[in-house]
Symmetry: C2
Amino acid sequence: MAVHDAMDVLTGKWKISIIAVLCYHNKRRFSDILKDVNGISNKMLSKELKEMEQNKLIKRTVLDTQPVTVHYELTEYGQKLQSVIKNLSDWGIEHRKEIMGK
Amino acid sequence: MAVHDAMDVLTGKWKISIIAVLCYHNKRRFSDILKDVNGISNKMLSKELKEMEQNKLIKRTVLDTQPVTVHYELTEYGQKLQSVIKNLSDWGIEHRKEIMGK
DNA sequence: CGGCATCCTTCTGGATACTG
DNA sequence: CAGTATCCAGAAGGATGCCG
């Protein structure tokens, strides 16, 4: 099942949110993402980013500054998830209305 | 973030897969879903279905047969997730190609 | 058939401190 | 700044058995 393949890559509370952030600002530094994504810890961010890099969803670029700067961005391939995110976000808005309505 | 609201409802390895199954066969029994969804245990299926029922994504119908028969189906509201699933599934197919290509 | 109860193991993820 | 390392609690999830 294709859905299952996709989910393998997107498991965890955070990956989808991280991708959503990287959709918006196309380059973003570690500590910025740390602030953007609601309650994530540096450990989790580090872990999730590493997994996503291995899965070729994002690209990591180290700049030779002092101190070090690191950029993360979606790969061309990862950008294909944007429409999924959009869909999900639209549904999330609907969902919030539904819940609040009660 | 709307994405986060959506994810609250869809957490766990299985929910997305279960919805995908219910997209395809619009009514489905417990033990059928158990076979459809790859490696899920009855405990997990039971738990996930209950959560999704509480979130109004699916509807549970008990038929008065001997022994009991139970149908699950997507609510009108849950069906709005179909486009998300479709997107995800398309991406999953791409993803599989990408991985295999290496 | 469609679950629930129990036990047990693994994974998830937070807090804090430390490194180059 | 961008992580790593360690410790630890709780949640997720598998196996098995029982029940109406």
